[in-house]
Amino acid sequence: MLKLEGITKIFNEGTPDEKVALNHINLHLKPGDFVTVIGSNGAGKSTMMNMISGVLTPDVGKVWIDGKDVTNLPEYKRSRYIGRVFQDPMAGTAPSMTIEENLAIAYARNSSRTLRLGVNRERRDFFRTALEKLHLNLENRLNAKVGLLSGGERQALSLLMATFTKPSILLLDEHTAALDPSRAELITNLTKQLVEENQLTTLMVTHNMQQAIDLGNRLIMMDKGQIILEVNEDQKPNLTIPDLMAEFERIRGEKMATDRTLLG
């Protein structure tokens, strides 16, 4: 479904600020895989997400989606296959447009946009049914401007918009990090529900180790631009936080760096 082949990215090459953001990354996701990604700040998690979504292009290496080489496809063309939810709840929706208009924009992702009305009766019914799954009563506020929603509601809406067209890949970039604990839990549960329902191949970056353990069937740990640990489907169910800490120490010979990674 998704394949990264020897991806390398160096920022500010040839200057004193040179930084190897990704160092020969290989990753392969099978259809239906849900992979959580952990690692400290600067490990290269976000850079890897940006490589997949097309915001950045690799210096070396290839990106494959659905068996197609998309390495040189611009971001807007790739996003036909990729659903994304960002960390910032403001980033995934258009604030001055209504809930149903936002959903209509997301709905038009798969086909080219035409002069058809974005919202018609049939679609409105479909949107309403989709919103009901969120249990936030948004289905009765179709004409409310999204800017009026709370951060949690906007993130739930973003999640729905990213998933309800069943993209080939779903990328979640710390999408619960900016929310308070109860909202974060709501979004985490919704993520689980929507991914299972639509059987989406998912890659989720998180700072929260417990979340990384609870969700998904595989886990990878990144550090300094490399994947240093891969936990497969058989090992993942028995994984605990102390296990991960011990693994990190064994591999890197040092204690795991940030409190944020621990406490999330």
């Binding site: 994304r84 995934g92 992702r109 798969n110």
Partner: protein, 329 residues
């Protein structure tokens, strides 16, 4: 007084089409486009020249619309493909179009390669054509009888221009309303709202910006074409400050009618354009002000339109606070 006001309303509703164009860039796309000063004249020059050359005024007006669309698209391309700041891209086009407009008007006669103006005194404009259908209907004398009965001393020559322009402008408003609700229209609005979001939903923001700025300038040029036919001349300087006029209309309209929905906002913009003309007509009747002071008056109206709503809002807040304090006591 009545005639002056009547003329102001007539012009206002033609300028409203230009204001709708400005609304598309400034508000919907969040793209401060200054091409307007040039493309307005491009529309006027194209229509006037074609009418002098004997083309049907409707054809001439539609070609003017197309010319404005092309000018706007070039501004959009300069910004998106050339990475030029939107303000600068607009100014560059405005300057460049000045010479283009002189050349276009130069095509109206064989004696010159470029001309600063084209008169349309004895030409068949769209208004003259419409008058031929309108006058036999006898509606003018009917309405004038009523208005005279209400006590008006001077009466307008014809109500036909006003009637025709109300219909044309409302049709354009409805098209704009509909367009902004289509899939492409929604994507253009989202481009002005949140570029990152719309890119993640497989929309090419570059193309949407080019299209949006193109459509905006198409409306502006169409408005210019009609103004040229209404005032019976096209002039290279008639576009100076047009962007401020458009902006004033948008701001005045929004301040009075609000921005609850697209349909309401476009209507607000149209009424805003008419109010602006009426205010201008009143200002010009102040004894010590002269027609040459018009641009200064425009600038002052825009400043007031920007500042007064803020002051009103502040005043309201103060009152609310005072009320709450009183309630507590």
């Amino acid at each position: 007084m009545f005639t002056a006001m009547f003329g102001a309303v007539e012009q206002g509703i033609i300028y409203a089409i230009m204001a709708l164009g400005v609304y598309l860039t400034f508000r919907v796309l969040d793209f401060p486009d200054l091409t307007v000063d040039g493309s307005f004249v491009t529309g006027a020059a194209t229509a006037a020249t074609m009418i002098v050359l004997g083309y049907h005024p409707i054809v001439a007006s539609l070609v003017a619309l197309l010319a404005g669309f092309i000018a706007g698209c070039i501004t959009g391309i300069l910004h998106t493909k050339g990475n030029i700041n939107p303000l600068l891209a607009g100014i560059i086009m405005m300057i460049g179009l000045y010479s283009v407009n002189l050349r276009i008007m130069g095509l109206s006669t064989e004696n010159a390669t470029s001309l600063p103006n084209v008169p349309l005194l004895n030409s068949e404009t769209i208004f003259a054509k419409f008058a031929k259908i309108w006058e036999p209907l006898g509606i003018d004398s009917f309405i004038n009888n009523i208005v005279a009965g209400l006590g008006a001393q001077t009466l307008p020559q014809t109500w036909g221009n006003l009637f025709m322009m109300i219909v044309v402008t409302l049709v354009i408003k409805l098209i704009v309303d509909w367009f902004l609700k289509t899939e492409i229209g929604l994507a253009i609005r989202a481009t002005g709202d949140n570029k990152r979001m719309i890119r993640s939903f497989s929309a090419n923001t570059d193309n949407l910006i080019i299209l949006g700025v193109g459509l905006s300038n198409a409306l502006v040029a169409f408005s210019g074409a009609l103004i040229a036919q209404y005032s019976k001349y096209s002039d290279a300087t008639m576009g100076i400050g047009m962007i401020t006029v458009g902006l004033a209309s948008v701001i005045i309209g929004e301040a009075i009618f609000g921005t609850k929905s697209i349909m309401r906002t476009t209507l607000a913009v149209i009424v805003g354009a008419m109010i602006y003309r009426i205010v201008l007509a009143i200002a010009l009747r102040v004894p010590f002000l002269d027609a040459s002071d018009m641009k200064l008056i425009t600038a002052v109206i825009v400043i007031l339109a920007l500042i007064v709503p803020q002051a009103i809002e502040k005043q309201k807040q103060k009152k609310r606070k005072a009320k709450r304090l009183q309630a507590r006591v």
